[in-house]
């Protein structure tokens, strides 16, 4: 596939469009909206407000025999007036909970004046249980498209103030339409979830609606990035729509996700648990890993979504946008801090965040799953302006060991990067897999296999830096040369071996006395606990000075920019799809 590589074409004006227009960006060169100051928020009522409001229309028409009022408005004046407007009284209820209304959320999320709504007049078709008297245009979800930093996105925002944001058949159809449009247009889709669940009055129609949405989530997966923001309740089957998307954001204290609520839990298992304990944002971002990003409030969450979108390509066919690095942080910058960061003592920790901050453009690292499995770090950054996915074992947490959660976390991230052509940079400092029955019983074998599978399968440029330990099976897993790693570096502090020296000697020289063993340990350390052996065999391409890491990666990314993924793919045998050990 042809790729545009016109890096740095922008002039150094203070305020220019800082995104590079890639060849495949559908919207053409991205132009930043300069309407930011004005707050044009379009709605249907805004559209019709050009009509004069004639007070004596009926009387005058009769008297003068001329048609004064438009036929359309005559009939639908009140419908049109109420469409796209949130009743301030209702809005206050939402505000009291510390939440914004659906339209306010879109206002924050999208560039001002860029939102285009559709299906604002859709109403439900249910005539049972009093629903016939409760038809509100829009039916509890605001859908449309707009721009984020000048790039198109499709959005839907459930409106908790309309029938509790519950999902009816028509509500589902509106969401499906947005998803379809996102696929057709090749732009990301963002869903803001704030819903009471299925509309019970509609029964199976609502369920069918959910299934339709799920199906589209699955079909859209890998085509365009899908992002869900949970900004209120999201319970029962509804949770599967966000779960199928690529990234889930949750707002602290105001959002909840669970399959069965506290009441059901109590009646079935006698377990006393609150909503927050069962499915609060803190739980899902740190313990279950269901959600990826934790935000303190609605505005912060939406601001974070905008930031994430800036890293992502619009669809799998596009390249991620390039953000010109600030001129004071050139790709050639060397940082001697990195020469000192790995402690002399192999057992003392250091924070891999620091390595990342000092390697990437102006220290910007958008961390995914920050609070979940902190022994591995994943997230997006830019190198020389180009989006990269970063994976790094963090020795500051559990010594950087790989466990079930870490493997699953990194595997999903690697697959996302591969699906959307984002190069992967891996920083390796891993002492191995976490031993113990909880891990073995939990299936660390099959979960670890996911990460192995994901790395081996990925065809995007893969650059690996071994900063310290790369022991045993974990060495193989972490983007090793043998798993089609494109460029593998080692710092002089690297130790590539099957295991630590003591353990190895204990196995090889079982019968020896302690003193003899000690000597053997020294031999083993000399032989294997350095990157030299690997470098001699070509398993690492070069041993590099840590301070030059940024420079080397930036150069390699340019080199690998034209890596022809199709030939890599051709080297893989033909098949329908592989069978990742789920």
């Amino acid at each position: 596939m042809l790729r545009a590589q016109n890096l740095f074409h922008n002039t150094l004006q203070v305020c220019v469009d800082s995104f590079r227009a890639s060849l495949f960006t559908r919207s053409g060169p991205i132009i930043r909206s300069h309407l930011h100051d004005a707050c044009f928020f379009t709605s249907s009522s805004f559209f019709f407000s050009q009509e004069p409001n004639i007070v004596n229309a009926a009387q005058a028409e009769k008297e003068y025999g001329v048609k004064l009022k438009s036929k359309f408005l005559e009939k639908y004046q009140d419908v049109v007036e109420n469409t796209g407007v949130t009743d301030p009284k209702l809005a206050a209820r939402q505000h009291e909970r510390g939440k914004l209304t659906a339209r306010e959320r879109l206002q924050v999320l999208l560039d001002p004046g860029t939102f285009r709504e559709y299906d604002s007049l859709v109403t439900h078709r249910c005539d049972l249980f009093g629903m016939q008297n409760n038809r509100i245009p829009g039916d509890g979800v605001v859908t449309g498209h707009g721009k984020i930093n000048g790039r198109d996105v499709c959005v839907f925002a459930q409106d908790f103030l309309v029938v509790g944001g519950t999902l009816s058949q028509t509500h589902a159809q509106k969401i499906c339409k947005v998803l379809d449009r996102a696929v057709d247009a090749g732009v990301p889709v963002i869903g803001l979830n704030d819903s009471g669940g299925a509309r019970i009055q509609e029964g199976v129609d609502a369920l069918a609606g959910y299934a339709e949405v799920f199906k589209r989530n699955v079909l859209t997966s890998g085509v365009v990035p899908q992002i869900s923001v949970i900004m209120g309740p999201c319970a029962g089957g509804a949770v599967y729509s966000p779960a199928l998307t690529d990234f889930v954001f949750m707002v602290n204290e105001t959002s909840h996700m669970f399959l069965t609520g506290p009441d059901v839990v109590r009646s079935v298992t006698q377990e006393q648990v609150t909503q927050e304990e069962l499915g609060g944002a803190a739980v899902h971002t740190s313990r279950s890993g269901v959600a990826h990003v934790l935000s303190n409030n609605d505005i912060e969450a939406l601001s974070q979504v905008r930031t994430l979108i800036s890293y992502l390509p619009s669809s799998w066919r596009d390249m991620a946008p390039t953000l010109r690095p600030v001129e004071t942080d050139p790709p050639t910058r060397e940082d001697s801090f990195l020469n000192r960061i790995v402690p002399a003592d192999p057992n003392s920790p250091y924070d891999m965040h620091q390595v990342i901050y000092r390697t990437v453009d102006s220290g910007e690292f958008f961390e995914i799953h920050k609070h979940f499995a902190p022994n591995i770090l994943v997230g997006f950054s830019r190198m020389n302006g180009q989006t990269v996915g970063i994976v790094g074992n963090n020795p500051a947490s559990l010594a950087g060991v790989l466990d079930i959660n870490a493997s699953v976390k990194a595997a999903r991230f690697v697959r996302f990067c591969d699906a959307f052509s984002i190069p992967i940079i891996t920083f390796v400092d891993v002492p191995g897999f976490l031993p113990g029955t909880p891990q073995e019983y939990g299936g660390i074998i099959r979960h670890g296999a996911k990460l192995l599978y994901a790395y081996a399968e990925a065809t995007v440029p893969k650059i690996t830096i071994i900063t310290r330990k790369a022991y045993g099976g974990a060495y193989c897993v972490m983007s090793s040369k043998q798993l089609r790693g494109d460029i593998n570096y080692a710092w002089p502090s690297a130790e590539v071996a099957v295991m630590g020296a003591k353990g190895a000697v204990g196995i090889i020289f079982r019968g020896l006395t302690e003193e003899e063993k000690e000597r053997q340990v020294e031999d083993y350390e000399r032989e294997f606990l350095s990157p030299m052996v690997s470098a001699r065999r070509g398993y690492v391409d070069e041993i590099i000075q840590p301070s030059t890491t940024r420079r080397r990666i930036c150069e390699d990314l340019v080199l690998l920019a034209n890596k022809d993924e199709s030939t890599v793919r051709e080297a893989t045998p033909q098949k329908k799809h592989g069978n990742i050990p789920l």
Binding site: H36, T254, T328, S336, Y357, G363, E364
Partner: protein, 756 residues
């Protein structure tokens, strides 16, 4: 041996170290070798003189520096300039320290606690012998004034670069030193030596020494049992009160009477003495700005002294040095009255002082090098008349300590460190002539800044030693210029770490304090100007507008917006609307908004005009330095991005400028109006778990589980950095759990006690 070979060697070091100078060196090399030492100041004359090789009677070629941090580096620099090889010693905590790498060789002398490493005479001796060092420089602190150490070295035939043991011993004893001083004709504080038993005796003594007098308990301390009396009536009253206070506080009613110094100032005289009986004195250093009896800011010369007093003080210092047979560098400390410039001997420090760079700056003489020359047995190369004052110099000691919390030491990893260069200001005036070269030799840059630092990015401030980060020295053609440079240097100085707190804001506050600027200060300056402790600097309207506008400019650059609402979280929350005026020149129009976030009716836009904007991004990429110019005033503002990305819609920054530090939040107006609906993460949900505010050793735990405690009650004592810190209960309640025991070593934020 210090011979010409060394001098040639020296010139190559200069070429390597200071490429700027290389062209000058070439020029000198063409003429004659003897001219090269122009670079090392006033030694020139000495080198070209005949006497040089004759007097050099001791062979020093390798020196071990028994110290750490900035002073170790300062001394090694001097040694290297003289062509000596250097040996560093380090504890295991200093494995990665700068001084360890700066030396030609390094020897590990023990575990982190200083008693087992830097104070371990045996270890250091062994290191000296192993490396074949023929001299040891002790720096300041640690073993610098330790007689046993000097003697032990002597026994091994290793030269101690410092005074002879006799002088160290004599000056180390406070009473003995006063006796010698008196004998040498140095003014000491008048007082009655012995106890006073009756009112009558008291008034007689007081009349003899002259009012005002100070009555104090001989067992006293901490201000108890101390009274000042300015006439006889007050004296009798003071005598009675003190007697009873002393009795109740110390169980010892003995009283002393001595002369009370009005408006006391701490001023000291540097001397240099060789082994041949020659002694010279240097212009004074004023060290009156002190907190907890520790100097913070020093300047030379003192704004108080006149040439006659200066000469008198100097001559007495020389007399004292001669009396005691002093050798090497030393400092005579005086207490000087701001009222009548009368001065009184306090003590003599037998070492190279922390604040020696300011004396070097105004005289152009390298004191550290001079110590080596004296140690080598050379005759003093300068005469008293060679020493003259040019300009003015100020030094700030930059400590890792919390100025907002009673200067409690702070530790942490230095994530970002950049020394000030002052390139936005005018360079040193060419009218300084050959002093410019001397300043350059003394490590001042062309803009008059010198930073003696022992840290760099990525290093930890260890808990075991003095938390000095660096010494920041500025030189100016006069005091005003020096002050101006210091203020700007402090603004430009970037020291950042996750939990690291430093006293730069406090130094900045002192430098811009009107009392300090006027020069009319006393040792009580900090107590008087900040009676309730330091709570940060409040900015003038202009200053805060500049800071906000500069931050907004970053936001405009990164996001492409042209207006923003700025929320300042200082002490109270304020909101402003900042608009970019146009693209080419940078102007800002902050409008203060009311609490509701709306533009008040009578608001006027104030243009911060002519700001120019230049940024440089620092290590880790999160801190940017912004140079601004407003109304021809140049300034530097430090801005640290707190969020993930430059593109964040809601962007938060920590702004550091003019000694103030505050958070600002920037977002577009249409987002700001919605912010009032957002829940505030309330600070009220504070933890009731008492955590260690710094790493250290638990000295005592004063509560047990199930004890009831009241707010502010002493719960534990934590010792860190040689300091005992009392930890108090954050709230009243019952102790639920005690997490640690006496003697345990805690890391930062480790829980001590939970209160329910």
């Amino acid at each position: 041996m210090l011979r010409f070979e060394h001098i040639r060697h020296l010139s190559t070091i200069h070429v390597l170290e200071r490429s700027k100078l290389s062209c000058k060196l070439e020029k000198y090399a063409e003429n004659a070798v003897g001219k090269v030492p122009v670079l090392i100041g006033s030694f020139t004359r000495h080198f070209t003189s005949k006497s040089f090789t004759n007097v050099s009677k001791r062979n020093i070629s390798k020196v071990l520096v028994a110290n750490r941090g900035e002073i170790a580096i300062r001394i090694m620099r001097a040694a290297k300039q003289l062509g000596l090889r250097t040996v560093a010693v380090f504890s295991t905590a200093d494995r990665n320290a700068v001084h360890t790498r700066f030396a030609d060789q390094a020897v590990c002398i023990g575990p982190p606690p200083s008693t087992q490493s830097y104070l371990n005479i045996h270890s250091i001796l062994k290191a000296a012998k192993e490396t074949g060092a023929d001299a040891v420089h002790p720096g300041y602190g640690f073993l610098s004034e330790h007689v046993d150490f000097a003697e032990a070295l002597e026994k091994e035939g290793i030269k101690f670069v410092g005074p002879n043991t006799k002088a160290i011993r004599a000056m180390g004893d406070k009473i003995e030193s006063k006796r010698i001083a008196k004998k040498a004709g140095v003014y000491i504080i008048d007082g009655y030596i012995g106890e006073i038993n009756s009112d009558r005796q008291a008034s007689e003594v007081a009349k003899e020494i002259g009012f005002p007098v100070m009555v104090k308990a001989s067992a006293g301390g901490g201000g108890k049992g101390m009274r000042v009396a300015s006439n006889e009536k007050e004296l009798i009253e003071a005598f009675r009160i003190c007697k009873s206070e002393a009795e109740s506080a110390f169980g010892d009613s003995r009283l002393l009477i001595e002369k009370y110094i009005v408006k006391p100032r701490h001023i000291e005289i540097q001397i240099l003495a060789d082994e041949h009986g020659n002694v010279v004195y240097f212009p004074e250093r004023e060290c009156s700005v002190q907190r907890r009896n520790q100097k913070v800011i020093e300047e030379a010369p003192s704004p108080l002294l006149d040439p006659i007093t200066r000469q008198k003080m100097g001559e007495q210092a020389v007399a004292l040095a001669k009396e005691v047979g002093y050798t090497s560098a030393g400092t005579v400390e005086y207490l000087v009255s701001g009222l009548d410039k009368s001065f009184h001997f306090l003590e003599m420090n037998t070492r190279l002082q922390v604040e020696h760079p300011i004396t070097e700056a105004i005289t152009g003489i390298d004191l550290a090098q001079s110590m080596f020359r004296i140690a080598a047995g050379e005759r003093l190369h300068i005469k008293q008349e060679d020493i003259s004052i040019v300009g003015s110099a100020i030094e700030c000691r930059i400590y890792a300590e919390n100025p907002y919390n009673n200067f409690l030491p702070s530790v942490g990893n230095i994530r970002c460190y950049k020394e000030p260069k002052l390139e936005h200001l005018k360079p040193l005036s060419p009218s300084l002539g050959n002093r410019l070269e001397r300043l350059e030799h003394l490590n001042f840059n062309s803009h008059g800044v010198r930073v003696d630092a022992g840290v760099e990015e990525g290093l930890d401030i260890p808990i075991f030693y003095d938390p000095l980060i660096s010494k920041l020295v500025t030189f100016g053609e006069d005091r005003t210029v020096a002050l101006h440079r210091m203020a700007n240097a402090l603004d430009e100085y970037v020291i950042d770490g996750d939990r690291l707190v430093h006293n730069v804001p406090f130094c900045r506050a002192v430098i811009s304090n009107p009392k300090f600027i006027s020069g009319d200060i006393t040792t009580n300056l900090i107590k008087e100007e900040w009676p309730d402790g330091f709570h940060g600097v409040s900015l003038s309207k202009d200053q805060s507008y500049q800071a906000m506008s500069a931050t907004a400019m970053l936001y405009f650059r990164d996001t492409g917006y042209t207006s923003t609402i700025v929320k300042v979280d200082n002490h109270q929350e304020q909101q402003f609307l900042v608009r970019r005026v146009n693209n080419n020149t940078l102007g800002f129009q902050p409008i203060p908004l009311d609490w509701n976030g709306a533009v008040p009716k009578n608001a006027t836009e104030e243009l911060v005009s002519n700001s120019y904007f230049k940024t440089s991004i620092l290590g880790g990429g999160r801190i940017e330095l912004i140079n601004i110019e407003t109304n021809n005033n140049l300034g530097v503002i430090q801005v640290k991005r707190l969020g993930n990305s430059r593109l964040d819609l809601v962007a938060s920054y920590t702004v550091t400028c003019f000694g103030a530090k505050f958070d600002v939040c920037l977002r577009p107006a249409y987002v700001a109006v919605l912010e009032k609906f957002m829940k505030r993460t309330d600070a009220a949900s504070q933890s009731k778990i008492l955590k260690a505010p710094m790493p250290g050793t638990v000295r005592s735990i004063n509560v047990k589980e199930k004890d009831s405690v009241s707010e502010g009650q002493e719960v534990a004592v934590l010792e860190a950095m040689k300091m005992q810190n009392v930890l108090r209960a954050p709230s009243s309640g019952i102790v639920k759990r005690v997490f640690c025991s006496q003697g345990e070593i805690l890391s930062l934020d480790q829980p001590l006690v939970e209160i329910e």
